[in-house]
Symmetry: C2
Subunit: 171 residues, 2 copies
């Protein structure tokens, strides 16, 4: 069992394994794109390498199917649950995320605001529509966390739309 640093990617995998129980990398991929992938994308290859990393640290256990495709099955361990709990509890990471919006970078370095806005608006509007559709179709048993995250995403889109709208016309 080796020392393994836990990154946001790690917690996503742990969180999903906690939620869904034993899963294959491909199953995780499905879960991601249906949930947290909306605001934090992972490449599918990471869902093969990250569980393997976590297994090295004892945060998840690995099994392989005997017959057929011999797919790998991962399950969160006690150690994994503990790490996840610690992470959830510790809000000390008062460090903020960064905007890191490519369009803002262009704006910063002198791109034409109206042109950028014209390209950004449809994309943000589409994203907003997507979020709202998810919200409408959301079953009652979905827990509060995802609901709140979705709400944050919706507001974020609204604000960006507002921002770019102001720049779309102006001179």
């Amino acid at each position: 069992m080796q020392e393994v640093r836990l990154t946001p990617t790690s917690y996503i995998v742990l969180g999903l394994l906690e939620f869904a129980g034993e899963s294959t990398p491909y199953g995780l991929k499905q879960l991601v794109s249906a949930s947290v992938g909306n605001f934090w994308t992972l490449h599918h290859a990471q869902l093969y390498t990250e569980p393997e990393r976590l297994a090295k640290g004892g945060y998840v256990s690995e099994k392989r199917e005997r017959g057929g495709r011999r797919r790998r099955l991962y399950e969160i361990t006690e150690r994994g649950r503990a790490a996840l709990d610690d992470w959830r509890r510790e809000p000390t990471a008062a460090s903020l995320g960064e905007l890191r919006e490519p369009a803002l970078l262009k704006l910063f370095f002198g791109a034409d605001p109206a042109a950028i806005a014209a390209a950004q608006l449809p994309a943000h509007r589409a994203k907003l529509a997507e979020y709202e559709a998810i919200r409408e179709g959301m079953p009652d048993n979905v827990p509060r966390g995802p609901r709140l995250a979705l709400e944050a995403g919706i507001r974020n889109e609204r604000h960006f739309i507002e921002f770019w709208e102001e720049l779309a016309e102006d001179g």
Copy 2:
């Protein structure tokens, strides 16, 4: 002259070199932390490696001081300016950035909203105050791009503050 892929980091370096003229890595570091670093952080080591990479692609030129510390001096080339212009012009990158807010991730995976909010609020308020101070002290000759980016940053902080405030008390 080799093939070099241009990343957001590349454009930051190019943009700053265009703005400031010939600079050393350390000079770039200063520039970053005084400007774009507010919403897009770079590690100082990148300001040594990235210009070198760009030099390989012919986007910047490299000189070394003859005496003393023999520091490296970088300057944007015609090719560099052209690449920067293309990037600014092409708004095709309709792909949106991602929220990627660690606090939202915790929320998503079940952290206590009030606890997270309590930690996030002071941080966001401090950041907002910092932005507003920058805005107050901003000389008149600062171009529109940075102004708009700052404006976006300020609004973003306000919205997050609002969001976390709602969660700070609730049950």
